[in-house]
């Protein structure tokens, strides 16, 4: 099947080369970072994680969300998702790859990365994160690839993959739960020290991931004959709606606990994010944008007329993706570090090289997704399925 990635239209080649070029630009800045050190980024002694870890966190959610199409299809035999599952799994492959790359660029001693394997440490959440992320990548490679291969051969997927498919469902929940536990178990970081962190992570993942999937599907639909069918799109829109509402609800719970209890430590980060603290307010416009976008999207998704308007839907998905991206990325990570443990404030904004390295990683991820989607489309075309 791989040969299908090599032949394509001019537009396909152009996209592949474009993404590859951006990746190389990012790689160039990464070499600069290797030379100078992480001081090339905007991070500091006080805000010691930044844009990279934010992207990592967001993309783990995107990867986990593949389960929102896999689960109905395989567990409930929801046939309308038949064509979508492969795309969901391939999106997950791209997303996990980006996660791993963001970890690689974030650590200070890149070549010592394998110390995590050499000195396995079961009391560290990062140890589990490494296991679940790599495991999830493998599971999706197996499930996605065999499913597509079955289409290629014109058969049903072989029965030996069934256990892997079933395993991939709880596994998807685990990757985002463990990622939430990276933050939720740290004493003294009030903003992260909350039991709803993992549920909130899952809620935001299950709206942002399917929203991104829908956007990609709309793009694929515009350029190929592929069409998942209106029913599938409408069903996915409902998933996005419920998950987005759950996400906003859980945020409301956080607000209640922090402000009704009146404990200052629990309020500082939220105040910093939404109103600024002692005149420091770099993230305020971002956070209001995020919540305005999510609220508007929530209202329009709840109203059946607007949700079922298939022309408007991709736009709503864009609102969801941007809103959750700001909220769960920068808002969550940087918010946890401000104020610092000594209640002093250091602000953070990513630098140009930092953004370019991140853009490079996104390009690599989308390159993988492009090639995988291309193979899937060609296979389906050759079988006369679309």
């Amino acid at each position: 099947m791989l040969e299908k990635a090599l032949v394509g239209s001019k537009k396909y080649y152009a996209l592949v080369f474009f993404l590859a070029a951006i990746f190389l630009v990012g790689f160039f800045f990464f070499l600069k970072q290797l030379k100078f050190g992480l001081g090339i980024t905007g991070m500091s002694r006080d805000v010691s994680w930044g844009f990279y870890v934010a992207q990592f966190t967001y993309l783990v959610g995107v990867a986990a969300s593949a389960v929102m199409v896999v689960l109905p299809y395989y567990l409930h035999n929801y046939k309308d998702y038949g064509k979508l599952t492969i795309f969901g799994e391939f999106l997950a492959i791209g997303a996990v790859t980006m996660c791993l790359l963001f970890i690689v660029v974030d650590i200070g001693q890149t070549h010592r990365l394998f110390n995590v394997l050499l000195h396995p440490t079961p009391h560290s959440m990062l140890f589990y994160d490494m296991i679940v992320l790599n495991g999830y990548l493998l599971l999706n490679l197996i499930c996605g690839w065999t499913a597509l291969h079955a289409v290629y051969k014109g058969t049903k997927y072989p029965s030996w993959v069934k256990p892997f498919i079933y395993l991939s469902i709880p596994w998807a929940f685990s990757i985002h739960t463990v990622t939430a536990f990276l933050y939720a178990g740290l004493p003294g970081r009030h903003f992260w020290l909350t039991a709803v962190m993992a549920p909130r992570f899952l809620a935001s993942a299950f709206c942002s991931g399917p929203a991104l999937l829908l956007i990609l599907i709309y793009i694929v639909k515009a350029f190929t004959r592929f069409d998942p069918g209106e029913k599938a799109i409408r069903a996915l829109a409902k998933t996005i709606t419920y998950a987005l509402l759950a996400n906003l609800f859980l945020f409301g719970c956080e607000l209640f606990t922090s402000f009704y209890s009146g404990i200052p430590g629990h309020q500082f980060s939220i105040k910093y994010l939404f109103a600024g603290l002692h005149g420091h307010m770099k993230l305020v416009p971002w956070m209001w944008t995020a919540y305005a976008l999510m609220l508007v999207a929530a209202v329009l998704l709840v109203i059946p007329q607007t949700r079922n308007n298939l022309g408007l839907l991709p736009l709503l998905c864009v609102l969801v993706v941007i809103g959750t991206w700001i909220d769960k990325g920068m808002g969550l990570i940087v918010g946890g570090f401000v104020p610092n443990p000594l209640e002093r404030i250091t602000e953070y904004m990513p630098t140009f090289p930092e953004v370019m390295i991140s853009v490079g990683i996104y390009a690599a991820g989308f390159l993988i997704i492009t090639v995988l989607y291309k193979i899937a489309i060609s296979v389906m075309e050759s079988r006369g399925l679309i």
Partner: protein, 208 residues
């Protein structure tokens, strides 16, 4: 370790302990605040004890500066989160760093509730004015912090900060031994520890 903050205030702005430690351990002096590396430093009461400070605190507390360093916690969160055991707790309770194993993930910095840890955001060597050849320098991309002078303890010496203080403000000893000098001091004085409510069990005590 017990720090008598009354003594520090009496001789302010003395910083002999800080200079001794930073010189001995080749801690770089980086002027850019965001990239700062420090093992021991001073800060005001409301920043050293943010949960204890209040607006009616007396004058004395207001003017006083507190020495801050790694607390060598009994239940150290930094050790709990480190994925490589590059930071670990020794039998004697000292929380140590293996800077050759550290991958620079900075999980420990997020986990430490006292801001005790520094990361080498860039090559520190150009910022060490007068390097001490008997102690290794670090490379970029690793985390470092106070090591309780394990290298000196091994030779039977006191930690450098305690030795450098001419006024005897810093006393170190074995908390596990009920007859030790340090336990005697703790029995006789009112002391504070930083953020005890987090359950980390800090081993640095402050006489107020």
């Amino acid at each position: 370790m017990v720090i008598d903050t009354r003594v520090c205030q009496k001789y302010a702005p003395c910083e002999d302990c800080i200079h001794a430690c930073h010189h001995l351990h080749n801690v770089p002096q980086i002027p850019y605040k965001k990239h700062e590396v420090k093992w021991i430093w001073k800060d005001e009461f409301e920043h050293a004890f943010p949960d204890t400070a209040h607006e009616y605190a007396n004058e004395v507390l207001h003017g006083r500066e507190f020495l801050l360093l790694c607390n060598h916690c009994e239940h150290p969160p930094c050790v709990r989160v480190c994925p490589t055991q590059a930071t670990f707790k020794r039998e004697d309770g000292i929380v140590m760093m293996d800077m050759h194993r550290c991958i620079g993930c900075r999980f420990c910095m997020a986990a430490c509730p006292y801001g005790s840890r520094s990361f080498n955001w860039r090559d520190p060597r150009p910022f060490i004015k007068n390097p001490n050849p008997r102690y290794p320098t670090r490379m970029k991309g690793v985390v470092e912090k106070c090591t309780f002078c394990t290298e000196r303890l091994a030779e039977g010496k006191l930690p450098a900060c305690a030795e450098a203080c001419k006024h005897g403000a810093i006393v170190v000893g074995d908390l596990a031994d009920p007859n030790s000098e340090i336990n005697k001091i703790l029995r006789e004085h009112f002391t504070l520890r930083r953020k005890v409510h987090l359950g980390t069990g800090p081993s640095v005590f402050y006489i107020i």
